[in-house]
Symmetry: C2
Subunit: 175 residues, 2 copies
């Protein structure tokens, strides 16, 4: 039970940090609404109450943490290796987040100041937390919406074998 990567993955651009100060960047995923959802007639519709037992999800630190403001601002902060699972027993492994299927979630970006990265000073203050509604998603164990499936096949490099034109781009040529 190892989970699967979130795809498309979360990526954020940040500015306004002190280039020489040190920060840790994390993502947390919280319930976005109180509903259980189902896919019916080509649409997602609410269907009963969400199971609210499994709140308090793990904070998933970006692998570059801790690092300088300059590093975080240089380019998009991508969480390409973040994985989700419905297996509670896997919750303690790195970059793994436990979710419940057919619930809607809201990712949150955390930026925490960690003092100077001299030998071992790591005193901190309250982190800034950001939530972008456009990153909400519904977790599933089997794909419902074929548009999403096709988007994954088209853009996820690991799904290349499922692209329609995969071995017909150079028809008749054997290498």
């Amino acid at each position: 039970k190892q989970g699967r990567r979130m795809f498309p993955f979360l990526a954020f651009s940040v500015c306004g940090l002190d280039p020489t100060a040190h920060y840790s960047v994390s993502v947390q995923v919280v319930l976005a609404d109180p509903n259980h959802w189902r896919f019916q007639g080509g649409k997602w519709v609410p269907s009963g109450k969400a199971d609210t037992n499994m709140q308090g999800n793990k904070i998933c630190m970006h692998p570059d943490s801790p690092n300088t403001g300059a590093h975080w601002m240089r380019q998009e902060i991508a969480f390409g290796k973040l994985k989700i699972t419905n297996n509670k027993g896997a919750s303690n492994q790195g970059q793994m987040i436990v979710l419940q299927s057919l619930h809607k979630y809201q990712p949150r970006l955390h930026i925490s100041w960690v003092g100077e990265a001299s030998d071992h000073a790591e005193g901190q203050m309250q982190p800034h937390v950001f939530a972008f509604p456009e990153t909400q998603f519904i977790a599933v164990t089997a794909y419902q919406n074929t548009d999403i499936t096709q988007l994954k096949i088209d853009h996820n490099p690991f799904a290349k074998g499922f692209r329609d034109n995969y071995d017909t781009i150079y028809p008749g040529i054997e290498v």
Copy 2:
């Protein structure tokens, strides 16, 4: 310039943590002595002064961080994906440590308390730091000691193709 993994890799067993408290575990690598080293006549011998310009190496956080004391004590804490390089430009990437060839190094284990892992409390106190002399090593760009090379070939799964008996363990049997 992406560096190479340290192998054999660092691994530590810890005890005495509060099972429910939260900690981050890190490794740092510092110069072990003031010498430059060379391999001569089958032995490592001091050869001049170390270049002390590149001190203050990055603290490399274990990917499971932050996590509970129970998690850290459950099994060995392994840094199997930690990489070393001599390229200063690569210093900002995750799990990467910049070293100088032909210098001797001492890894250090850091265990930092990070308060409760409730939403975003991350206040901390001074971390505990441990250094085990048996983990010292000399960084190289080309292997000098053939015993070490053979140890790597024998035990590193990625070097399987270099084992003498690689395709002769079951001679004549085709599967």
